[in-house]
Symmetry: C2
Amino acid sequence: VWGIDVGGANLKVAATSGACAARPFALWRDPGGLAGALRELLDELPPAEKAAVTMTGELADCFATKQEGVHAILDAVAAALAGREFRVYLTDGRLAKPAEARSQPLLAAASNWHATATLAARRHVPTGCGLLVEIGSTTADLIPLAGGEVASSGRTDTERLLAGELVYTGVDRTPLFALLPSCRLRGRRCGTAPEWFATAADAYLLLGEMAPEPENCQTADGRPRTLENAHGRVARLVCGDRTLITLDEVRDIAREFREAQLELLAGSVAAALTRWPGVPATIVAGGQGEFLARSVAERLGLADRVIALSEVWGKAASRGAPAYALAALAAESVW
Amino acid sequence: VWGIDVGGANLKVAATSGACAARPFALWRDPGGLAGALRELLDELPPAEKAAVTMTGELADCFATKQEGVHAILDAVAAALAGREFRVYLTDGRLAKPAEARSQPLLAAASNWHATATLAARRHVPTGCGLLVEIGSTTADLIPLAGGEVASSGRTDTERLLAGELVYTGVDRTPLFALLPSCRLRGRRCGTAPEWFATAADAYLLLGEMAPEPENCQTADGRPRTLENAHGRVARLVCGDRTLITLDEVRDIAREFREAQLELLAGSVAAALTRWPGVPATIVAGGQGEFLARSVAERLGLADRVIALSEVWGKAASRGAPAYALAALAAESVW
């Protein structure tokens, strides 16, 4: 069985074996290209007869409503699967036929977190309680787990934002000014430019927590992920350039961003853990930002409670967690 | 004489007579199209033999450095002017030959505020002191004026951010999450999505302070500036859509945004006015956000000190203030 996760900025697919493939795909720019992009990605996996799909891409603003987005994504998935049978993962944990998912688009929308959380709960929190801390490129899911099940209180994205179970911050695409309306510079506070000039990936690259990727041009300005370009992008945040703002200065800005993001997440995790006052809880850490999830646990004095998905599921499966989890869940169910 | 203002998101041109023309132009997406776009815009003005140019577009991230941006913009202006003589406005108030501007790109960069402030100081604050509060689509300039001259302490954009003379917030392009990392919704705080989902223009449209423009698709999602689309865009800020978040709810979010932007600007204006403690200062209000500049003055108890550029220069000249001011300054100088 293939698991397919259609995000707004990234596509991820996985096979039950653990094989995973992923690629950035700016759905909001090219909704018509989704089927083709999925087909190419699925070609990288071992063959399968069936597939299950989950998504968050219906939020992309090429779709006027979530219903429109869910329908368009299911159309593209059907085209990419070329006649293979598939099911749609719903936020109540069921694998529904496409026609049912179409008639209940709000259950099919933004369901990918639930797949990851369900597998994490079954495998790693079969008893007692825990919290999935999956920090992705764009968002973080903080999902309460208890007794082998998902114990979340929100279902839709808006409910999950209100419940603090979705924190819209990530280690790659989040623009720096989202956490830094101003920053320290030359001993003073400096306003920042609310433009798509520099993102979290630039900060973590400058801090050595993410590696340069000279082939990867998924950046704010479309230039490669190199130190020099990250320098230039972060300099632009304070309306400078790399000749006017030094590397040390942009590193300080990156550090301030990291600290703000860590504080936001640590506060959110601490709030989520108040569900189980006094109870030792397992922290299941995963996603592209697993390194930051570990830092969050350390800051909260919970480093010894961490189960890292990169270790128990493998690195590729941790980064493509929803696709991998969905493939595993679908393989276990009968349809 | 023509005055030309090359911004990163908008182009403005004006003639000494007061005739103005403007158009949105996403320079970062299409730097190669600048000359053609300028030529079309200049065709809307009465003929002129000479021109003067000012800019902020060199900050656009299609340019690796400001020097690269200044040179590229001057190339495009020269091409658009097809042999006409032109001068470049510098942040020291001089009109320099293109070759000199090329050799001092940091004086040519981000000079447009200085043109507006110089004309405003000469005409409206010939004696005593004042503050230019020009709120544009993207940024606000808070420029001290005294005795007919510009009394700013910053020259480059970074210096101006540090000095509080440039506040990177505006009434059109500013994304809502820049001022609302969270918002009130259904009696609780709701995190917001740091995506380019909704901008200030949506908020002011929902509040009736900006009119719908069904022909104008310069919006976060490329859909027209209508109430229905603004509703959908702001709903997306809390990861909803217009079927899930009511019009009353998005209006409340718009109100919270307006209040946050007003507070940011009022605080910045109050700080700027501490230059002249105890002295009644003139507030010269202008730009696309002149309505908000008036609200700022009201909040600070300075409503009776306001000179509105839309009234003294005319509405078109107030919106295209740097281009108009530059045309007027250039006509007064000998070259």
